[in-house]
């Protein structure tokens, strides 16, 4: 059990960064660097963190950062890992830190390649469910029904299930997290840190300007995402799927908050009809039923080595 008060006092995300008010991604960034520490190299494609880190000659990130082209995170990180290894530089963690577009869309090939090659790094997707940096265009991580600037009447398709795509690569560790549950978040990253090979974390990060939500509600929205079952915290460790404790409670349908409580706080879902909300509720219930059955189960066979 991790205690928040035991968390490193060192702030590797310096004051004065350029994140939006209420940005949950910047919370995720801060927590991540507190766990990872200063012996960490970040590889960052075009994403909100391109902005958050600040403009030359300043930088809000007090670790080495390689900004790289949109599609290139997994590959550039592979190069960093290989370069460190051949030069005999040890005990440096390499993190690919990318948004949802840079992960589930344009960066999926390089990430898939890196995972297939069992590259020794942690890839973290912070997911605000659209291209936030460019002004909220739809990505394949945008949930069904959500307004974006390129889905003006709401997205018609489902959110891509990236964690399970990563599971198909049979990597040793996959987890979902959210900064609203910092202990769960930290425990998962601590666990990931100790494992060799490709590790993947998918973090939902509420985004007030994009979600059309109040800036002071980002932590609350994250909690509601979990409590309604719209975002499920789980791990796939060496192929075994398990629901994490904050989400375990909502497996019981009577303890599950209606999705409406989560949706109604966000302008991006404001246009939804009662029927459409009911459809989303049905989908969430079905997903949780499915996850319940999957709990404790193996989703891919154990690797032999």
């Amino acid at each position: 059990m991790v205690m928040l008060k035991e968390l490193s006092k060192e702030e590797l995300v310096l004051p004065g960064n350029a994140s939006c008010t209420g940005c949950a991604a910047s919370l995720a960034l801060r927590l991540t660097l507190k766990v990872m520490g200063s012996r960490t190299i970040f590889v960052v494609p075009a994403c909100c963190t391109s902005i958050i880190q600040g403009q030359f000659p300043a930088s809000a990130l007090n670790i080495p950062v390689l900004n790289i082209a949109f599609a290139a995170t997994g590959a550039a990180a592979s190069g960093v890992v290989a370069g460190l290894r051949i030069r005999g530089i040890k005990d440096v963690a390499v993190i690919g830190w990318a948004g949802d577009g840079g992960t589930v869309d344009i960066g999926i090939q390089a990430l898939s390649g890196a995972a297939e090659r069992r590259t020794d790094f942690i890839y973290i997707c912070y997911d605000n469910e659209a291209y936030g940096n460019t002004g909220m265009q739809r990505s394949s991580a945008t949930p069904i029904g959500a307004w974006t600037t390129t889905t003006p009447t709401g997205k018609k398709e489902n959110k891509k299930d990236m964690a399970f795509i990563m599971a198909a690569h049979r990597i040793p560790y996959i987890a979902t997290a959210i900064p609203s549950y910092p202990i769960d978040f930290i425990e998962k990253l601590e666990k990931a840190k100790k494992i060799k090979g490709t590790r993947y974390l998918h973090i939902l990060t509420p985004c007030p300007p994009g979600w059309r939500s109040d800036a002071d509600l980002s932590v609350e929205l994250g909690r509601l995402a979990v409590q309604t079952g719209m975002w499920v915290l789980f791990e796939i460790e060496n192929g075994v799927f398990s629901i994490s404790s904050p989400s375990r409670i909502v497996l019981d349908k009577t303890k599950r908050k209606p999705v409406e409580e989560y949706l109604k706080l966000q302008g991006r879902f404001g246009h939804l009809t009662t029927e459409e909300v009911a459809e989303i509720q049905k989908a969430v219930d079905a997903t949780l039923d499915y996850y319940m059955k999957l709990s404790g189960q193996r989703v891919y066979p154990l690797l032999t080595d």
Binding site: S38, R39, T40, I41, V43, S50, I51, Q53, G54, Q55, F56, P57, S59, L61, N62, I63, P64, V65, L66, N67, I68, A69, A71, A72, G74, A75, A76, A77, S78, G79, V80, V81, A82, G83, L84, R85, I86, R87, I89, V92, Q109, A110, S112, G113, E116, R117
Partner: protein
């Protein structure tokens, strides 16, 4: 001590990466480059080459991985061709603007559609504005020499830019030729370990490539331009030093000249057409033509001054392009004509497009090109327009 071996251009490129002690190689296979990556994979797997070999899933990733490795101070190498190079295009800019001395073999191959695996320069020449040094080879020996020299030039603190060493598909890539290679010890002496311009280091963290305002951006581009100007001075120096140290050819640095001094007509070309042109020159000289051959070896940085110097002595240039800039003319021709503009007395310049998609360019074709240029000089007509050599009508 030189050792003579007989190898294909591709294997020579792989071998050069080995003796240059490339530490990270990230590559994706594409015809006709495949033998390079196969050779390196074999060398790494057998333990003969102490390198990390990353079998990436695309050329975009190949260059991205080289960039990543280079930013932590590793010497990197890759190889590609045609569509692979085009797919890499975005990262070519990234590599040069990040000032990373990556060396890449480009096996020149035509772009599709339709699919064509044979050679032309239409893949690498369109990359001319990416900031990469471009060297075009005419023999397997030159491939080897150019790769070794490229590391010296690229890693020089006054340069810190990447280079592509271009060799024509099949004509060089799959053709066995004898080459002479120096001892590893001597190579090590010539090419010391990489001292990077900057590194990602946890002890001294830097953020590389974050947002930069218009106040600063232009200066960085100026520095890149300056770096390639420095490379222009350095390439012949390094070639001379190499040649002296090992007793290997110098290729006159930027432009290889053959009987240009008293020539009325100079055949200007790149790659293996240049070596074929030398044979044509010999034959034509025997027939009484005052003709020479200038093979542009280094296309970026472009040897403006050297072109001007050669051109002042000639009456006409016959510029052979194995490429075409649609709606304009041959890419080399544009560059040559731009260099001529400053001359008080300009020679005529005629553009010949030849050998696209691997069509053979024979010694006889080059002789005809030269003779046609002499006729233009005599008659004073026919200089306008592009001549498409051996094209079906």
């Amino acid at each position: 001590m030189l050792k003579t071996i007989v190898e294909t251009g591709n294997h020579v490129a792989g071998l050069a990466a080995l003796v240059a002690r490339a530490q990270v190689v990230a590559a994706y296979p594409i015809t006709p480059q495949t033998q390079i990556v196969e050779k390196i994979a074999e060398l790494v797997d057998s333990g003969k080459m102490n390198a990390e070999y990353i079998c990436v899933e695309s050329e975009h990733s190949a260059m991205s991985a080289c960039i990543g490795a280079s930013t932590v101070g590793a010497r990197t190498f890759t190889a590609t061709s045609s569509h692979g190079l085009a797919y890499m295009h975005e990262m070519l800019h990234w590599a040069s603007a990040a000032r990373l001395p990556i060396v890449m073999a480009v096996v020149n191959r035509a772009m599709g559609p339709p699919w064509n695996i044979w050679t032309d320069h239409g893949d690498s020449l369109p990359q001319r504005d990416t900031g990469w040094i471009q060297i075009y080879c005419a023999s397997n020996q030159e491939i080897f020499d150019s790769i070794i020299q490229a590391y010296r030039v690229c890693e020089d603190q006054r340069v810190l830019m990447p280079a592509m060493i271009c060799l024509e598909g099949f004509i060089l890539s799959h053709t066995n030729m004898p080459i002479r290679i120096p001892d590893q010890k001597e190579i090590d002496d010539f090419l010391p370990p990489l001292e990077p311009g900057w590194v990602l280091n946890v002890e001294k963290p830097v953020t590389h490539g974050n947002m930069l305002s218009p106040e600063y951006y232009m200066e960085l581009r100026y520095f890149m331009h300056e770096a390639l100007q420095n490379a222009k001075r350095l390439i012949p120096q390094v070639a001379r030093e190499y040649s002296k140290k090992f007793g290997l050819p110098e290729y006159s640095g930027l432009i290889e000249q053959y009987m240009c001094n008293d020539a009325e007509v100079i055949i200007v070309s790149m790659g293996t057409i240049g070596s074929e042109a030398n044979l044509a020159v010999e034959k034509l000289r025997n027939e009484g033509y005052r003709v020479g051959s200038a093979r542009i070896r280094v296309f970026r940085p472009f040897p403006h001054e050297a072109v001007k110097e050669i051109a002042t002595r000639a009456k006409a240039l016959a510029v052979i392009d194995r490429d075409i800039s649609f709606g304009m003319e041959g890419i080399l021709f544009t560059e040559i004509r731009s260099a001529l503009f400053d001359l008080p007395k300009r020679p005529l310049a005629k553009n010949f497009i030849a050998g696209l998609g691997g069509r053979d360019v024979t010694q006889n074709d080059i002789e005809e090109i030269a003779k046609k240029t002499f006729r233009i000089l005599e008659t004073g007509t026919g200089v306008e327009g592009i001549e498409w050599v051996n094209m079906r009508r």
